[in-house]
Amino acid sequence: MALVKHSKKSCAVNPLKMSQPIGGALAFMGVSNCMPVLHGSQGCTSFGLVLFVRHFREAIPLQTTAMNEVATILGGLDNIEQSILNIVKRANPEVIGICSTGVTETKGDDVDGYLKSMRQRRPELADLGIVYVSTPDFKDAFQDGFGKTVAKLIEAFVPQYAEPPQRAPARVNVLAGCHLTPGDIDELRDIIECFGLEPTFLPDLSGSLDGHIPEDFTPTTLGGVTKADIARMGTAGWTLAIGEQMREAALALEARGGVPFALFDRLTGLGANDDFVAFLSKISGRPVPLKIRRLRGQLVDSMLDGHFHFGGKRIAIGAEPDLLWGVGSFLAEMGAEIVGAVTTTKSPLLEKFPAEEVLIGDLEDLEERAARADLIMTHSHGRQAAERLGVPLFRLGLPTFDRLGAAQEVSVGYRGTRNLIFAIGNIFIAQTHEPDTETWRQDIQDHAHAGAPAQGNQLVQIETIV
């Protein structure tokens, strides 16, 4: 439905996009006892670290190969080995996840080849899981880096079965895209467990970045899915891929152990959740529990209450493709008009998006499209544009550094969708101004308000009702 356009500008102004390697690093943060490493200069890591710290308000495990001038020119493979040895010595993780950056990709380090030879030279590291992902900064975006990393984790740890293995039908794999918050993952776990299924989330940010007081200080990730859990994913009954970005990973898992998969491109909205719940009921062979039926009823009611405030509202959204798709599609279902849709990278969903145009661009583009909007929805960097335009901002996605609780925002499932209606609806309600003696005087010139002369057909309608 939408025309997908790329910005023609040379200069990105007020970026919406973040880079691939830190998307990869975030995926590694959902793996238990893991140390993510960016293979680049220390600034690459430092920027990502600060970004995540401000968003999650948590200590973030993220290391660097600290490429200096000489290593940058001559190649940074020694730095990889040194950083692995250093990390093993200091933190002794089970998994080290390495993402390349613009620096090392420009040089073209053959990291995979090097790791292979290092493995031979250093048998003492045999038990250490090392996963390398190629994520040049100058290509793709955050969401792509996240997706590639999940696929790589599967290729690294799930064994290749020659014959289809014995399946554990109650076990389901859930591949969780980066548009899901730790709160979203917890919500999905609850729903899936209601059907007697045992979900394994990959990655599982709900264990590591949900903002809990840890049992102990640890320099690596605080929780998440273990290497052993990942290895077992090849024998699960089903794979549920949440988000189009997880397709590559779902295919990888299918290739490894023949696990069939179902892809849910969004879980925000009534219909989308009906499909999801019906599917769970089917694969588990159990009826939909009372608890979930009640949540559905509550969502329906909140949609009825909320639609008065959403109808006809003009909304501009800047978000990564899967998040844009999930939230934007639902808002359109609530009667809102998406007047601006800006995203970061390509996706097959974009042309189906309910707007005239989807632009792969920046926040300057969004600001242009939001001039006459009632609401801007994007990450915290939209605050300047919102302030300039005098349009309220709903913080959506990462980074959200000027509000509390970004990790616990829930917008999936019946309950999450209901929360979203209340949060956005209340912004619209807060925007309505109390009238005073001057309100109607201005309205005579400004026909956009409620005091404008009535249209003929409206009068007819009222008469009919009477």
């Binding site: 102004v13 200096n68 840890p214």
Partner: protein, 556 residues
């Protein structure tokens, strides 16, 4: 790249910087080839440092030439405030793609500059070099020159790609960029005998505005602040100031010193943090201006303002002093802030339980020692567990640090206050000191701490108890086993740059009877990187010579 190498060499020869002067000729030549430990490094890169130093210039466009990581992951995350233009908070980047890596990004850069000038019409554009275009060989100097000539506006190249070194080096390279291309290019409309520059002040949280009213009252004009709340033409005409104050430790010392050399502007190093420091700084400003020809009565007026403001500040702090005196503070921060904040906290009656010296220069450390006496407990690179231990043993009641280490305190259910760049409160001048004390009081006496420290009723042991037990067990094991204790003592790291521990230094000293820094450096490389650990090596050698392990003549 050769010219960049020369620049770095030049910066490393900085005579105003004690740290560089402490190194031998050979070490200085090595410049910043010091390898940070891969897998064990934290902190920003040279690009980050350059951006921090110049971004507070408010009315210019700051354009980052590089892939999305450099600007997209980091933009708009500093609290430098502006009284006018907001353009400095707009993120501009060329967002290089694969094509630019392969075919070169110069055209895209040139077009980006043109788009910015067309749309935003800034007085100048600062173009920042980053790692990838530096590697592929984009000549941003040439692009800036061509764009300047074509569009008739200054386009300033800032050559400080991330891989050349740490943040501090980037600060200095940024200073070099404005020395080369900005300062002295515009004449001020008029000058007065009361014109000063403030160098290294970034107006974080509006701190400059806590100081400026007093300067206004004295008739002292800030001709240019470099770079907090600065406008381009102010920096460009800053060469006509009569005197300068250098605020942020060594971050921009090259700017202050070279302006003295080129334009005969004398400078002093001072701080706006703490009542005593603030008064000293006002006096120094007045003194330098009078030396340069301002009427001597300026000093009388300055003393009158100082007396009035000090009395007012003390009166406002007095009610807190009683509540805060004896409370212990753990201060984890770098460089300038360590010693300047120490003075401020002592004025409020607080005790310093410890302070980190991670980014401080040798001189900084000496200043801390001077201020806190011999029991200054300075902590190099504390690990999270050690920080917890320190907080836990009731040796600290509150932690003051940057945003990154806050969670150690908060997870330990310990009051915490942000004093780094991302903070929201301004702590400069007399006003700021009162604010800082009020904030510490607020954090310490918040009733929430009593609540969160109660364990859940169903929990048998808390993680704090388990951590304490583990720490006790460790200590007991060491005490019971002198061999392990000795091993632990010997394995303590001395030189972070080259990863050399106490044992290696002692062995080197013993093996060959080596007794001085140079010889130890030759044998183990210890102390030949940043030079920050040389005093520790000297202490080890002193201790050994005292114990008679090395002939005293050689230990000198």
């Amino acid at each position: 790249m050769t010219s960049l190498a020369n620049k770095i060499q030049d910066v490393f020869n900085e005579p105003g910087c004690g740290k560089n002067q402490g190194k031998s000729e050979k070490e200085r030549k090595k410049g910043c080839t010091k390898q940070l430990a891969p897998g064990a490094a934290a902190g920003g890169c040279a690009f980050d440092g350059a951006k921090i130093a110049l971004q507070p210039i408010t009315d210019v466009a700051h354009l980052v030439h590089g892939p999305i990581a450099c600007e997209g992951n980091s933009w708009d995350n500093r609290g430098a405030k502006s009284s006018g233009s907001r353009l400095y908070r707009t993120g501009f980047t060329t967002d290089m793609s694969e094509n630019d890596v392969v075919f070169g990004g110069e055209k895209r850069l040139y077009k980006s500059i043109k788009e910015i000038l067309d749309k935003y019409d800034p007085p100048a554009v600062f173009v920042y070099q980053t790692c990838v275009p530096a590697m592929t060989g984009d000549d941003i100097g040439a692009v800036c020159k061509a764009a300047s000539a074509k569009f008739g506006k200054p386009i300033i190249p800032v050559i400080s790609p991330g891989f050349v070194g740490p943040k501090n080096l980037g600060n200095k390279l940024a200073g070099e960029a404005i020395l080369d291309h900005v300062i002295g290019t515009v004449e001020p409309e008029y000058t007065t005998p009361y014109d000063i520059n403030i160098i290294g002040e970034y107006n974080l949280a509006g701190e400059l505005w806590q100081v400026k009213p007093l300067l206004d009252e004295l008739g002292i004009r800030i001709l240019s602040c470099i770079s907090g709340d600065a406008k381009y033409h102010e920096v460009a005409s800053s060469h006509r100031a009569r005197a300068a104050m250098m605020v942020c430790s060594k971050a921009m010392i090259n700017v202050a010193r070279k302006m003295e050399e080129r334009y005969a502007i004398p400078f002093f190093e001072g701080s706006f943090y703490g009542i005593g420091d603030m008064s000293d700084s006002l006096r120094e400003i007045a003194r330098l201006l009078i030396e340069r020809g301002a009427p001597a009565e300026l000093m009388e007026r300055t003393e009158a303002v100082i007396a009035r403001e000090e009395a007012r500040a003390w009166a406002r702090i007095a009610p807190y002093k009683e509540r805060l005196s004896g409370k212990r503070v753990l201060l984890i921060t770098g460089g300038v802030k360590s010693w300047s904040v120490v003075a401020a906290l002592q004025e409020a009656g607080l005790e310093i339980a410890g302070t980190s010296v991670k980014k401080s220069t040798k001189e900084d450390k000496e200043k801390i020692k001077e201020l806190m006496g011999q029991d200054a407990h300075m902590i190099d690179d504390m690990t999270p567990r050690e920080m917890y231990k320190m907080l836990k043993e009731a040796r600290a009641d509150i932690m003051l640090s940057g945003g990154r280490s806050q969670f150690i305190a908060l997870k330990a259910k310990m009051p915490w206050l942000d004093i780094n760049q991302e903070r929201h409160h301004a702590y400069a001048g007399y006003e700021g000191m009162v604010e800082l004390v009020a904030e510490i009081d607020k954090a310490l006496y918040n009733p929430v701490w009593a609540q969160v420290r109660l364990p859940a009723p169903w929990e048998e042991t808390s993680w704090e108890e388990r951590a304490t037990k583990a720490l006790e067990a460790e200590a007991a094991a060491l005490a019971a086993d002198p061999e392990r204790a000795e091993e632990a003592r010997r394995s303590k790291k001395v030189c972070s740059c080259h990863n050399v521990n106490v044992g290696a230094i002692e062995d080197a000293a013993r093996a060959d009877g080596l007794g001085n820094l140079e010889a130890i450096g030759g044998a183990t490389h210890a102390g030949t990187g940043c030079g920050g650990c040389q005093s520790k090596i000297a202490e080890i050698l002193d201790a050994m010579s005292g114990a008679g392990a090395v002939p005293a003549s050689k230990a000198a």
